[in-house]
Symmetry: C2
Subunit: 367 residues, 2 copies
């Protein structure tokens, strides 16, 4: 069987209607809803075909039709295609369309000082953005802090805080900073500290977690004379620190929006969803900046429908993510989680706007 234009139009009409109402949609509705001027009976025949092709299904005999994941997929792909075309042709119009949204974002993001304060405040900026996004879309939204690709060490520094405490500051490429307080057994003098700092920096600079191994820790420790054991422990700590930076930090907002959608809000489903949002580890996979080279990568928009996320807790959800650039080569992701019948179009627009703003604010230099 072939998916001709008419079938596609009907499918689109079904989906659009279902997105709006959330109710199974019947042939009569479509007959009136579209400009196809077809009777309900005809539509019924076409719908039977569409069902056979796997794009729609009936929740029970004698109910209207609901899109399947495949149906959504088709719809979304079409939408994304026309969206990117549109984007290329007249990106301004896109902005104008959600003008109000953007105005609010601008307001939120613009607050300049004579020092560029962008780096220190990412966390709060992202929290604000994710909050606003959730409030504007009525879906749950999620953002990940920028992730350094390989987490190369850029700079280490030990500082004496108390007689028995050293502060170990680790800066990774992409200017991710981590601290660790280390308690030491015997006091250490400033002179020695300076030497240790030099030693650590010269040895560890530019290395990734994988490259800091037992062997080199031992060799470095040797050079530190009587502080050998201390140094090797410090290196362990540094490795652990880098490792912990590998865990992506994620913020969520608008979890309660789940309850707006009956298909997600029964105890079981909602509980599972809330869990994954709270524990965040499970979201890591979805929010990590993996390198896929499919067509949509250009706009950075990625759509996961139902099972496509491979998280069982999200089998009734869709998720849309977009990538923003923090520093050159350092990306983070921002996403929206909603019911499968979410307003994909609106969400894609909203995410595009947000990432534009973030890119302007952070990455690609302000306009």
């Amino acid at each position: 069987m072939e998916l001709d234009i008419r079938k596609k139009k009907i499918l689109q009409a079904i989906i659009k209607n279902y997105l709006e109402t959330g109710e199974p949609v019947g042939s009569r509705t479509i007959s009136k809803y579209t400009d196809l001027e077809l009777s309900a009976a005809t539509i019924r025949n076409e719908m039977a075909d569409l069902e056979e092709m796997g794009y729609i299904f009936q929740p029970h005999t004698s109910a209207g039709r609901i899109p399947t994941d495949a149906g959504y997929r088709l719809y979304v792909d079409d939408m994304l295609e026309s969206r990117t075309e549109e984007l290329q042709k007249e990106s301004e119009r896109l902005h104008a369309r959600s003008e109000e949204l953007e105005r609010r974002e601008e307001e939120l993001l613009s607050s300049e000082g004579s020092i560029d304060d962008r780096v220190g405040h990412i966390e709060s900026v992202l929290k604000d953005v994710v909050k606003m996004l959730a409030a504007n879309t009525n879906y749950t939204s999620v953002v990940s802090m920028p992730q350094t690709g390989r987490n190369r060490l850029k700079f280490v520094q030990l500082t004496k805080i108390d007689e028995d405490k050293l502060l170990c500051t680790v800066v990774l490429e992409g200017n991710i900073v981590k601290n660790e307080m280390i308690r030491i057994k015997e006091e250490i003098d400033q002179q020695m500290l300076l030497r240790l700092n030099l030693l650590l920096n010269s040895t560890l600079n530019g290395l990734t977690l994988q490259e800091i191994n037992f062997d080199m820790a031992a060799r470095t420790a040797e050079q530190a004379e009587q502080y050998g054991s201390l140094v090797s422990e410090i290196i362990n700590h540094i490795a652990a620190t880098i490792g912990s930076a590998d865990g992506i930090e994620i913020f969520t907002s608008g979890a309660r929006n789940i309850f707006r959608y009956p298909e997600l809000s029964d105890s079981m489903r909602a509980g599972e969803l809330i869990s994954t949002l709270e524990e965040k580890e499970l979201l890591t996979e979805l929010m990590s900046d993996e390198e896929t080279e499919d067509g949509n990568r250009s706009t950075g928009i990625q759509v996961y429908i139902g099972q496509e996320t491979s998280l069982s807790s999200m089998k009734d959800c869709s998720m849309i993510t977009a990538t923003y650039e923090f520093e050159k080569g350092v990306y983070g992701k921002i996403g929206i989680i909603g019911p499968k019948r979410m307003d994909y179009e609106k969400v894609v627009d909203a995410l595009n706007n947000v990432t534009d703003s973030l890119d302007r604010k952070f990455g690609k230099g302000k306009k």
Copy 2:
């Protein structure tokens, strides 16, 4: 009317029964449940009295009775009293009783190195603890990072990271560390950086946020000669950093446990609760380490029943918090949120155990 022993026993029986079943409890049940050997009719009379006194109420005519907040209060206060007595008399038994619980905690908390790694890992330790607590109690649990009382500045350090970036590391009393990346307009040499560090430390050391005002920023800036404007901006950043440290960091776990309790799990209520758990700001008040000097302060256990939290989202919940000591004088709180009919006794025990473990691990030196 007087609350004699018999009435108290009946009230206790009602509450105990309600905690177990979650159903309104009737006179017949009590007549059998207690060792008072009274007929249902008698109990009914007493219950009418208890209702008049405001300790119990009927959800509707011809239903059993449910405790009011006042009823719970009475019950909890009695329980806490006997608990602390018991604690003083034979604290070992208490430990033995929840032996299994404690074993798990110990396992979780004990992992020693030759460097004392306690400081760097609080965050992960607390996350583990809160997770375990939620899993063991089947309630939602919450923990706050240690809060420095007044957030005095202990140490500042500027470090050059790139030509145009300084890393500003701020250490507050209680060894809370904060970083901020500052982008500067013109490069600065090491010599000058050293001087700025000295200047900043000598000026700001020991100050709280309140004490860092515009006036002194100006005076300090003067001393920095051509870097005056830079210094005053840096001071602003430092102030902001301290300010942000005032915001308590809170982790939650087991939010989904809300759905175990029907009285919390309808969309409205659950949504509101999830929101306050997600946004955390609202919890700040409850989790901040204010100095009350009521009796229960000794054990650090605090119980909020229903409206007592003053959060409307938690009007159907109870919350129990306990205080743990991180460093001398630096406390954090750990708490449990559940339905009003939660198992107060079990939760108090669990919290006592957890804070004991944390104190042993962090504060009062390992045993």
